[in-house]
Amino acid sequence: MSRAKSPSASTNSEAVPQVALAAFLRGLAARAEADSAFAAQLDAALRESGLLDHSLAARAGPASPAAPARKRSSSRPHASTRDAWQQFAGNDLPDPFALLRDRGEAGLRASLDALELPVLRALVRVHRLDPARISARWTARDRVVALIVAQVRARADLGKAFSRV
């Protein structure tokens, strides 16, 4: 039996995932409402994915010149959280590894000191400098700057001890 779809079937096949997705999400919501443990797991998984943060960060709007304003053009009224994330993760973010290489640790620290907290958080996320996301709750910029400097320094030095053997 051929698996090829007829042109008329393709319209239906586009509708099916939509319906299925809606049913899946309804089922997920119902299960989360009925089962608090499952709801907690779901919540943890969502937080782990970082989608919530990206969404919130995007909603908060631009925090510095490095974080461009989210475009709300009528042509794209429902930009996805991924789009928002990519705005933070885009070329506007400084490269801390290049800063360390070109300007040294003091230069890196000075550059980071000029950035707002959401941008620093985006840097941490983009470069996976804190996979456990311990710093996600930190409100002091200095702590986040120190984390970035320490982790960037550590990665830049990775393997240096071995090269002396």
């Binding site: 804190d130 320490a150 550590a154 393997g159």
Partner: protein
């Protein structure tokens, strides 16, 4: 008496170090066991996942790694001090885990490997430093509940030193063609060594590692491995499968700021698998 388990495979990159470290962490933190990790692999990966590189370098330069043990065997000296070489309360979780200790490896082991190989008789094991590790650690092993040996991807003298103190071994495999091909030679060689040295070294099992459940090949090879066990050709295959995971890979960063197992391995997913793996390990060693 402690259980002493070598984690061994002739193939590199199959997750030996990952599994050694995960077992060590979960045994200490979830099961409150005292664990010694012995890093026999000259790549020194387990070592630098448990202590910072600089700390390893300082110790290596001071003769406080396994290099010194094998250098002594070659040179006929007696400089290795096991008590000083064992690093206590290692790992980046909460600044160090009480009861998790490490005997560090050294890149310089590569330099002495050829020499110790030359002076070893691999048929009778009656000549060469096969029991150097056993003799050096004899008084320290009873302190621990579990000793885990991260072996290099070979069955050379260094690995044999690990087997000489082991009562069991684990074989991590990636469920692909080349990794599975390497299992029978390991089983044969360990059995040969056990017979010649009159030891009982039990194959605890095969651990499927770096599993990518979305690939047909991995699923097919997992099925074959489990069938081969049923046909008694292989040791039991652990029910728990360790997935390929970014979080597990990132857990290797000893400088990452973490305070709990959950933060090191991530909530759910890998964390649950590694916890289950440890429970299964304990079940197998207790049999």
């Amino acid at each position: 008496m402690p259980t002493v388990t070598s984690i061994i495979n002739l193939k590199g990159g199959v997750g030996k170090t990952t599994i050694t470290l995960a077992l060590a962490h979960f045994l200490t933190l979830e099961h409150h066991k005292r664990v010694l990790v012995i890093d026999l692999d000259p790549q020194t990966n387990a070592t630098v996942c448990l202590i910072p590189e600089r700390e390893w370098q300082r110790r290596d330069e001071a003769g406080l790694t396994l290099y010194q043990l094998f250098a002594d065997a070659v040179k006929g000296t007696h400089r290795f001090d096991a008590d000083a070489a064992i690093v206590r309360d290692v790992s980046n979780i909460a600044g160090g885990i009480k009861g998790l200790d490490l005997l560090p490896s050294s890149l310089r082991l590569i330099k002495v490997q050829d020499r110790v190989t030359q002076i070893t008789d691999f048929e009778t094991y009656e000549r060469g430093p096969i029991f150097a590790l056993r003799d050096a650690l004899a008084e320290f092993l009873p302190y621990y509940d579990h000793i885990l040996l991260d072996c290099p991807p070979s069955l050379g003298v260094v690995t044999l030193n690990g087997l000489a103190i082991s009562d069991s071994y684990l074989v991590p495999v990636v469920p692909d063609i080349l990794s599975v091909l390497g299992i029978p030679p390991i089983l044969d060689r360990v059995e040969h060594f056990a017979q010649r040295t009159r030891r009982n070294i039990r194959a605890l099992g095969i651990i499927i590692s770096k599993m990518r459940a979305q690939t047909i090949l991995h699923n097919e090879m997992e099925r074959r491995l489990r069938e081969d066990f049923v046909e008694r050709r292989f040791p039991p295959v652990f029910r728990t499968v360790v997935p390929e995971s970014t979080r597990i890979a990132e857990a290797a960063n000893v400088l990452a700021p973490v305070n709990t197992l959950q933060q090191k391995y991530g909530n759910g997913g890998p964390m649950d698998e590694l916890s289950a793996l440890t429970q299964e390990f304990l079940w197998h060693v207790s049999r």
